[in-house]
Symmetry: C2
Subunit: 463 residues, 2 copies
């Protein structure tokens, strides 16, 4: 029995006699939250899409220390509405054109609720067989939809795994590549390892390399230009790798991107993989943003050449409606991951694992514990297939306005609360990014957004 300092505890209420997981109370409160969220989606366009609060706003509204008197769910929801909602930037608003969208759907939400409700921890097969087996099945399904080479699928002795985000997926693959190379040429060479990407590659890659102990001076962000639509040129890669080899360094890892953050550039996989092969490098394809689109035959060519890569990942929470977080990673050689990431403490040993007939996903990722993410990926095609494929807004839209006033223009647009966009700088040009992809977005939102841009531009240009 635990107790709190009695100074701080005041009167009892009825709720203290109810189990924290009482099924009937769960039912009552659960229904209330569903209604709350349904109303939120109905009304989401009424809120300023970019939150208008000032730093420190919430501290002024909440108690100074942990509340000691339980509050009814009604009061808590009122607090959420009054104090939390104004501090949200509304990622589900159809007027959100910033960053890359993080899409939701009813199906994804239901999967997440089941996952949270069961609350099983599927680190090894035995800890909840369904969690592991559903995941191996759906990653193969999705791999087939993408027409990934069979060597990336369980059915072809590769395999896929669901991670939280691309950051984790890339860290896992860099660590696997690193340890493979260290075992060949000796630990003392770690300081010489080089990781390659383009200057358009997401910062996650550089961060993962740094976490893995790669010398920060040995991350190469190879320059791209308008002439290749900001894709990484195989010639530039080869020339940089040659220089590094001459300097006594060891090429380790190349990250090629399908859909870069600033410009949605597509790196040419086939020719990049050919360069990497000449030097024994691991190639990872980061298709976080654009990968989901490649289930459509007319976009599949963007990942042509993936057969030369070692690993491939995409974020289902970007265009695949699963809600955060759900990154799908496929590797050709799961044993490379497992060699780096497995642990086998006695307290986790069991017959099924010892039999080697099951997948223990704990050895495919950074963390031990893991959520039952495959439920949402499974329910999604089951519930939504045609909606997603036929109505999915899979266009790549970008706007470039290339003068200095753009900075002011973007600030003015965003402060209006009508729409939210973000920016990038490409070859020194400040670019307003207009990313379309929110689940609730319709053509009219895009048209309205364009009107907002024009109105604010007119004001700025006329002053």
């Amino acid at each position: 029995m635990g107790s709190l300092n009695s100074d701080n505890v005041t009167s009892h209420t009825s709720s203290s006699n109810i189990s924290p997981l009482d099924p009937e109370e769960f039912r009552r409160q659960g229904h209330m939250i569903i209604d709350f969220l349904a109303d939120y989606y109905r009304d989401v366009e009424k809120y300023p899409v970019l939150s208008q609060v000032e730093p420190g706003y919430l501290q002024k509204r909440l108690p100074k220390s942990t509340p000691h008197n339980p509050e009814p769910i009604e009061t808590i929801l009122q607090d959420v509405q009054e104090h939390i909602v104004p501090g949200l930037t509304h990622w589900q608003s159809p007027n959100f054109f910033a960053y890359f969208q993080c899409t939701s759907s009813i199906a994804g939400f239901l999967g997440e609720m089941l996952s949270t409700g069961f609350n099983v921890v599927g680190f090894s097969w035995i800890a909840s067989p369904a969690a592991t087996e559903l995941e191996t099945i759906v990653v193969d399904w999705l791999g087939e939809m993408l027409e990934l080479p069979k060597s990336f699928l369980f059915s072809g002795n590769g395999g896929g795994v669901l991670q939280g985000t691309t950051c984790e997926a890339v860290l896992c693959t860099i660590v696997a590549a690193r340890d493979q190379m260290l075992s060949q040429i000796g630990r003392e060479n770690l300081i010489k390892f080089v990781v390659y990407a383009s200057d358009q590659t997401h910062s996650a890659i550089q961060k993962a390399a740094q976490i893995a102990g790669i010398h920060p001076m040995n991350f190469r962000a190879i320059k791209t230009s308008k002439s290749t639509s900001y894709a990484l040129s195989p010639d530039s890669l080869r020339s940089q790798v040659c220089k590094d080899v001459e300097a006594g360094l060891v090429p380790l890892f190349l990250c090629a991107t399908v859909g870069t953050t600033s410009t949605a550039a597509i790196d040419p996989l086939e020719s990049l993989c050919a360069v990497a092969k000449d030097y024994g490098m691991w190639v990872h394809v980061d298709a976080a943003y654009a990968g989901s689109a490649c289930i459509c035959p007319e976009f599949r060519h963007f990942i042509d050449g993936v057969e030369g890569a070692n690993s491939f990942s995409l974020n289902a929470h970007k265009w695949f409606l699963t809600s955060l977080d759900c990154c799908c990673l496929w590797v050709k050689d799961p044993s490379a991951l497992i060699k780096s990431l497995s642990t086998n403490p006695e307290y986790l040993r069991n017959k099924a694992s010892d039999s080697k007939q099951v997948v223990d996903y704990k050895d495919w990722q950074i963390t031990l514990s893991r959520r039952f993410r495959s439920l949402k990926l499974w329910i999604l095609p089951s519930a939504l297939s045609e909606t997603v494929y036929k109505n999915g807004k899979l266009d790549m839209v970008s706007e470039e306005l290339a003068n200095e006033a753009n900075r002011k223009l973007l600030e003015s647009i965003n402060m209006s609360g009508c729409v939210f966009m973000t920016h990038a700088v490409v070859e020194g040009v400040y670019v307003i990014r207009f990313a379309v992809g929110a689940t609730l977005v319709e053509e009219r939102h895009v048209i309205t957004a364009w009107k907002v841009v024009q109105e604010h531009a007119n004001v700025i240009l006329s002053t």
Copy 2:
């Protein structure tokens, strides 16, 4: 507009005309899932707690490839009941005494639903100010409840962050410690860095060290014994560190544990920190399991001496009813984390970040994207305070049976489906771990479990 291969697509149904996030359809389906889960909690004791399926069971029940015809929610829930539930090991069952529990509650579930529903990505303050601000507030609240030294709180220039699991928290701190030391003594010394823990320490620490590039030969699992109740002895630590220093190695990091996995041992923080200080090591306190209990004054002494540590973490999803995942990490020097983990690509720059007046949690963790986890931690004390504190089952219970028959006994017990326990090996003795802590557990479940143990023991002893 994207399209799927038309070979695979058959007839339309009405669902394809509905937005994937239609508010009224969300309401209808959401209510159905709530009822499904409420029934699941009501009936959870009816299922065998350890799943009885054989490897490969699910492949036989699901289609060979992605379904292309949308199914109504009713059919999907029927599939979940028929095909997924039998493959679950029921972590929320009151008969689950295995590993460490991963606890749920209505409040934790509601928080998770709101987080999933809003689906905001709080990597930087501007991306959803409420997500960042609520987190800074609740980690300070929880830190105060634990009576952590002020130097760990935002109010004392330290600070806390919510991560997924302890694995991530430890990896972040090892990387911060590593980079701090590298900047002092040069990158070429990475190969000499040594990480210390006890032979009872969770395997997560060794894995994190390996990911961070620490030489696998330089992880020291210092032997403990019954004489110290399997706590790490400061003398053993000092003697090992001395040996390593004499051999030209560099002591980097000590992980002390409050509540080890096999034996719930408590490492003596104060004297261990004193040893670490003599050698300039970073000390992390892993209180994943037992940390939550320390909000009770009678258990607070288990973390006496934490003031000498650099960082401290606990898993709120273990004893604090938040459901997976929610690890709280506090550090005295956030700048050490930030130096190692920050990225500032142009496309994430914004005025609020540039002002340095806000916390950007992306720089406190491995990943960029992050879920709004603080909602559940906030709702929990708001909704449940007295229930948790007054009725919380915060006892540390462990069972030790020390003969060879235990292996058979445990297998026999678990296959019954009545209860689920796991094991450990301590100083060569096979121990059945009996971990009590599931949200739904009552005294009667513990009594019944003990009867099950006795019955199976009688059968095994009489054969």
